[in-house]
């Protein structure tokens, strides 16, 4: 079997070098075309009529006036009379027309009558959700009652983190075109290989007849895997519109109402410890919502899973609001927030530096040594030991500074991925796989792996992704893309190179396994005198190209990729105690992630994650109105996000070491977003001397906490 192992760290020429995104210039100049940019002649525009009520039954629907509007080509009823609608924004009907304006006007001419039914849209106060809370069974480990009795110190607190949105800049949607009995499908997706099959299922249609293409996507964060109802509608509308292609993208409000959100999490937590900080007991009563399906329990206690005595209770609360979708590290940010807030409160009560508390209890985690080293590294970058002060002891001025800490863990690994490498007699190299680049740098790292294996510069590789005629590769979720595509690419390129070696070995008077590809040449190992240029070597192929596959074997990744990482995050904030405004001074992320193919895009992933977390810590929250059942801030004005000046200084430290490198490639998309809110919340508590129990840490909540009121 060929040797697929990654080249040893010191001999890598391309991998491991900070490399700019290959598609950067396209994106920066606007040349990159997203599916929502498509605008071919004859294109029709579709719009969804959505339900204005949080809970209602459709009693009648009359589309006749809309159908008569000039320019309207098709009207489809999605929720016919009798349908019970469970959240605002639910799709009621769809209209296709020759312009977006006409489609919008037509929507307003559809007459729908509703019987409005009672709703529950808020879950922050468990005593006010009526029968909407469903208790999950109690989980007990050890003897928590006895452990709390024997503990030297116990702390109790309540904490909460609201539902937030994905806020993809490109909303969900697609263009669908029928070509005889074939469909050309141009979605905005994280899943180019799989989404066609999903659409086919809903249409009871042969998936082989769906051709899916997408080169760029404007954000997904876990919300863009399925074909969705609007995708199915968009596929039906052209048939009714004389075969013309149809474009349907959600508007911002509908996007925020129905295209996914992250579940909330609230909890009362009690922690018991010995005087030296060793944690002995945990008790939590948590609840969460993710829409009508309720919300599962975040994995608490997070990371410190080996606390010997535990009692966990959880209720899932069903609310009349759009359903959850995976959101970057599903349920981990919530778990990190609940756990690390409670531990910071414990440290404060013990008058202990939380770095010491986390270090002391690292034995309760699955990777004690990794976390200990990271705590040390983070503390060094933050100058923590010199600058940290006990909670609330931050001087007499109105602006208080504080520091906080949190922790993360994630799986990663490599998803299913197949790759083809073609080497042509003229020297051209094609690498082909139906993956997608979410903006994370996937294009760049695939090209780097191919260039590394083939001894070529990046520019010599032609990469094709984002087209379902190419070998299938998994959806980009769970931080599994980089592991999957790098492994399949490595194998395909090693296999193709093996074929090339076999073709040129005779003319170099050597055996194929004595050859190597370096610096654009094929040569006898270590002997550049016996070599051919890449071009000359490829000419030996005669008329036949090489075309070789590589498959990531998920059961046996052969050391190319693996899973399981940890990281820590530290925040330094200033809080104006007169206004309650929190500013981020500095944010430090120390992250372990195996073999790093491109330190630049890896670092950039962590910057992005930190920014996303800062938004969640300071600004983001879905605001539901009890009286009307409406999501009041389904926009980007009062659903607030940070701007550049709100972010502060972010320092990323990647644990690049031979030891981590040996583990192969591990994904990085998710872990660095996990502990951001928790670390900022802890920094705020450290600064102002009291816990602000609920995120985001807005002026009203900070001032309420300072005044001792519940926020």
């Amino acid at each position: 079997m060929p040797n697929y192992a990654w080249p040893p760290m010191p001999s890598r020429k391309v991998m491991g070098k900070p490399t700019k995104r290959l598609d950067g210039p396209q994106k920066a100049s606007g040349k990159a075309k997203y599916s929502s940019d498509l605008n071919q002649p004859g294109l029709l525009f579709a719009t969804i009529l959505s339900c204005p009520h949080a809970h209602a039954r459709v009693t009648s629907i009359d589309t006749s006036e809309a159908e008569r509007l000039p320019g309207v080509t098709a009207v489809r009823v999605i929720s016919p009379a009798g349908t019970e609608v469970q959240w605002e924004g639910t799709e009621i009907a769809a209209v296709a027309a020759t312009s977006e304006e006409i489609a919008k006007d037509a929507i307003r001419k559809i007459k729908v009558r509703y019987e409005v039914l009672p709703h529950v849209v808020k879950e922050d106060d468990l005593s006010r959700v009526g029968n909407r809370a469903k208790a999950a069974g109690e989980q007990v480990t050890g003897d928590p009652d006895k452990a709390f009795q024997e503990a030297d110190v116990t702390v109790e607190g309540h904490y909460g983190i609201p539902v937030i949105n994905h806020c993809c800049l490109e909303p969900h949607g697609q263009v669908v075109e029928w070509n005889g009995d074939h469909i050309n499908f141009y979605p905005s997706t994280q899943n180019v290989s799989g989404i066609g099959g999903d659409l086919a299922k809903s249409l009871t249609f042969n998936p082989a007849n769906i051709h899916t293409r997408m080169q760029y996507v404007g954000g997904g964060f876990g919300s863009k895997f399925a074909a969705d109802r609007w995708g199915v509608e968009c596929a039906h509308l052209p048939k009714m519109s004389g075969g013309k292609p149809v474009k349907l993208f959600l508007d911002r409000a509908t996007e925020m109402q129905i295209a996914g959100n992250r579940p909330s999490a609230f909890a009362k937590i009690k922690v018991g410890a010995k005087r030296d900080g060793s944690i002995v007991a945990w008790e939590s009563e948590s609840w969460a919502t993710g829409g009508m399906g309720g919300g599962g329990m975040p994995p608490i206690p997070y990371v410190f899973t080996e606390i010997p005595n535990k009692r966990l209770r959880h209720s899932a609360v069903a609310v009349n609001a759009g359903p959850v979708r995976a959101w970057r590290a599903p349920n981990h940010p919530q778990a990190s927030f609940l756990t690390c807030s409670a531990l910071e409160d414990l440290a404060a009560k013990l008058k202990m530096d939380p770095v010491d508390l986390f270090d002391k209890n690292a034995g309760l985690t699955a990777r004690a040594e990794v976390y200990r080293a990271q705590l040390k590294k983070g503390a060094e970058i933050m100058d923590w030991k010199r600058r940290w002060h006990p909670r609330g002891e931050s001087g007499s001025g109105p602006v208080k500074q504080g520091m906080g800490l949190a922790i993360n863990t994630w799986g990663g690994g490599g998803h299913a991925s197949q790759c083809r490498c073609n080497i042509h007699p003229d020297g051209t190299v094609e690498v082909e796989l139906c993956s997608q680049d979410l903006g994370t740098g996937t294009r760049t790292i695939i090209t780097m792996v191919a260039a590394e294996t083939l001894g070529l510069p990046l520019g010599a590789i032609t990469l094709k992704i984002g087209d379902s005629v190419l070998p299938p590769s998994g959806g980009s979720g769970g931080s599994t893309t980089v592991g999957g595509v790098s492994s399949s690419t490595r194998k395909a390129t090693v296999n193709a190179l093996g074929k090339l070696f076999a073709a040129v070995a005779p003319s170099l008077g050597a055996q194929p396994d004595q050859l190597e590809a370096v610096d654009g040449r094929i040569q006898v190992k270590g002997n550049s005198a016996k070599s051919l240029t890449w071009q000359a070597a490829c000419r030996k192929l005669g008329a036949n190209k090489i075309s070789e596959m590589g498959v990531n074997d998920q059961r046996n990744p052969q050391g190319l990729n693996s899973s399981g990482v940890g990281g820590i995050q530290m925040a330094d904030v200033s809080v104006d105690t007169e206004t309650g405004i929190v500013k981020i001074n500095k944010f430090v992320a120390v992250q372990d992630c195996g073999l790093i193919i491109n330190p630049k895009t890896a670092e950039s992933q962590i910057f992005g994650a930190a920014i996303m977390g800062i938004c969640g810590a300071l600004f983001e929250e879905r605001i539901m109105d009890v009286q009307t059942g409406k999501e009041l801030n389904a926009d980007m004005e009062f659903y607030k996000l940070a701007g550049i000046a709100d972010i502060g200084d972010i320092v990323v430290h990647l644990d690049i070491t031979p030891e981590h490198d040996k583990r192969g490639v591990v994904g990085l998309g998710e872990p660095p977003v996990i502990g951001v809110i928790a670390s900022i919340g802890n920094a705020v508590a450290n600064a102002v001397g009291v816990r602000v129990p609920r995120a985001p840490f807005t002026p009203d909540r900070v001032l309420a906490a300072l005044e001792g009121r519940n926020s």
Partner: protein, 326 residues
């Protein structure tokens, strides 16, 4: 957006002839930063849209008599960068700067800033200006953390969106309103009104009138605006204060303290004005005036924190004005 007739007049006279006698007949389009959103959300569905950006007479900033005359279509950016404004009216400069996106400052005009509609999320979600349901406003029992803490005995609970409003009230400015049948000058303080029913507006402008210019008296004052903003990036102030102080030596001869983003109109704080008269501005007198300014606040269920923010805004605006120059 509902289809409309588009008019592109070149003079004030032509423009006012195109306006209607009732709201809904014709809407003025200046920078469009609010107007276009209102139309896209079907909150405004005018039959005619009258673009005023091609009317030369509506532009420019210059001295006129004892006033600085600011044309209605002067952009927020032009206002902010104007040397005379920077020198004489730092409070206006600071208020315009607070509209923290260069894009909006480049497009948005001073006339549009004064005439923009409230950002109350019930209004913007189609519940009506006063958010009435079954004869009661949704706001007092609803999500009111950004709503009014003054002037909120009903039926209006929204806050006036204009950041220039409070600064102009403090400076004693007037606006000129022109219709086909004539023109009138209205003190900015009187220009903002609290609507009493769903049909009325939050400004005194009539449907057939165009706001053509703002006149700011050039009397020397120490003036400043301080806005409490959670974000550096594009966002609305949570509370703000504009102050203008006529000084006699080192003491205040007369003061105008006006709160912003806390009431359906800019909110003059006469008690603060009185507290300052005859005093030098120090941390203590500023704090006292700030307390006086918010003494009569009537916060709703979720916006008590805005009382504190308004107080801080007054204190910081006064200290800033005292540090600055007339």
């Amino acid at each position: 957006m509902q289809a409309f007739e588009y008019a592109n007049p070149a003079t004030i006279q032509e423009a006012v002839a195109l306006l209607g006698s009732r709201w809904g007949e014709a809407d003025v389009l200046a920078g469009g930063t609010d107007q276009i959103s209102l139309m896209k959300e079907y909150l405004h569905t005018p039959q005619r849209v009258v673009n005023i950006k091609n009317i030369k007479e509506l532009g420019g900033i210059h001295r006129a008599g004892g006033n600085l005359r600011i044309g209605a279509t002067v952009t927020l950016d032009e206002l902010m960068e104007n040397a005379e404004v920077r020198r004489a009216f730092p409070s206006l400069h600071q208020a315009a700067e607070g509209v923290s996106s260069p894009q909006i400052r480049n497009m948005g005009t001073v006339g549009g800033d004064l005439c923009q509609r409230p950002r109350c999320w019930y209004y913007r979600n189609g519940c009506g200006l006063l958010a009435m349901k079954d004869g009661r406003s949704l706001v007092p029992d609803g999500e009111n953390k950004y709503h009014a803490i003054f002037g909120n005995s009903g039926p209006a609970y929204f806050v006036s969106a204009s950041s220039l409003g409070p600064a102009l009230v403090a400076l004693g400015a007037k606006v000129k309103l022109v219709s086909a049948s004539g023109s009138r000058e209205v003190a900015v303080e009187k220009f903002f009104v609290t609507p009493q029913n769903e049909q009325s507006r939050e400004i005194a402008l009539l449907p057939n009138e165009l706001l053509t210019e703002i006149l700011v008296p050039l009397a020397p004052t120490h003036n400043a605006t301080y806005e409490v903003r959670q974000k550096e990036a594009l966002d609305w102030p949570l509370a703000a204060a504009s102050v203008a102080l006529k000084m006699k030596g080192s003491t205040v001869a007369s003061a105008r303290v006006v709160l912003g983003h806390v009431a359906p109109t800019p909110w003059p704080a006469a008690q603060a004005d009185q507290a300052l008269a005859g005093k030098a501005i120090t941390a203590e007198t500023a704090e006292e005036a700030a307390k006086a300014a918010v003494a009569g606040a009537t916060p709703l269920s979720q916006n008590g924190y805005k009382v504190q923010l308004a107080r801080v805004a007054v204190k910081r605006a006064l200290l800033q004005a005292a540090r600055g120059r007339a």
